[in-house]
């Protein structure tokens, strides 16, 4: 059986940023997942959530859980990442000053996701960016 949750994420909604990741953490804790795996998943979900808040026109995160795997899919409504190779480099950031003043924009978001997920896929166009992450449940 697959269980799924969907969360809307809004552009520049710093006040509610992290709420989706907190809900994900609560659920994964309730079902008794390994705390180390939960940590890796929530690092990714928070980075993804903040990327949508900071860089996109808004989007959604979908969490899918079955017996063997957890998947997290983040899709936004654009404007897309012009150069994914650059965006994947640690320290490269296009975050606006308003985000940097809050301690975001270190240029670690996508690299942190890649490091903490078993599967990391990204595709981007001006219509939107889709990040697909997955973890194997051992």
């Amino acid at each position: 059986m697959t269980v799924s949750f969907e969360f809307a994420v809004y552009h520049e909604d710093y006040h509610n940023a992290g709420v989706a990741s907190s809900e994900i953490k609560k659920y994964l804790t309730q079902i008794g997942l390994d705390p180390q795996l939960i940590r890796r998943i929530v690092i990714c979900s928070y980075e993804a959530e903040m990327n949508v808040v900071i860089h996109s026109y808004g989007g959604k995160m979908v969490l899918l859980i079955d017996d063997n795997e957890i998947r997290l899919e983040i899709a936004d409504k654009g404007p897309g990442i012009p150069n994914i190779e650059l965006a994947m480099q640690e320290g490269y950031s296009t975050a606006p000053l308003s985000a940097r003043e809050r301690g975001f924009g270190a240029g670690m978001g996508l690299p942190n996701m890649k490091k903490n997920a078993d599967v990391f896929e990204i595709a981007s166009s001006p219509q939107g960016t889709v990040v697909k992450l997955a973890w194997v449940i051992i």
Partner: protein, 107 residues
């Protein structure tokens, strides 16, 4: 050391009370949220000069019981309210991150 033991030092002012019996296993100093997310260990205390509401989510997601707001950085009301909801201790101090770390690591 527990959080309540740290508060014996009157340099630290408890601003929001979460769990004062939480163990402190160490301390992490940082003001870049992605670095904190990926490097802080559960049950360390986090020293920062950031004081906006997003720090509470970072602490909660990384199982950090206490945030120490250093150098008397001004706290936002939204941060205090969120910390109450999430039972995160918020501790204010005029000390720098380095000085807080020295005091914690020296017990």
């Amino acid at each position: 050391m527990k959080v309540r033991d740290l508060l014996i030092d009157d340099s630290f002012r408890l601003t929001v009370e979460g769990n004062l019996d939480a163990e402190i296993t160490g301390c992490y100093c940082g003001d870049l949220l992605s670095w904190v997310m990926s490097h802080i260990k559960p049950h360390q205390v986090w020293c920062t000069v950031l004081s906006h509401v997003n720090i509470v989510a970072v602490a909660s997601l990384t199982q950090v019981s206490s945030i120490i707001i250093c150098e008397d950085a001004p706290l936002e009301e939204a941060t205090l309210n969120k910390a109450k909801q999430e039972s995160i201790n918020i501790i204010a101090t005029s000390l720098t991150s380095a000085e807080v770390a020295r005091r914690i690591l020296n017990g």
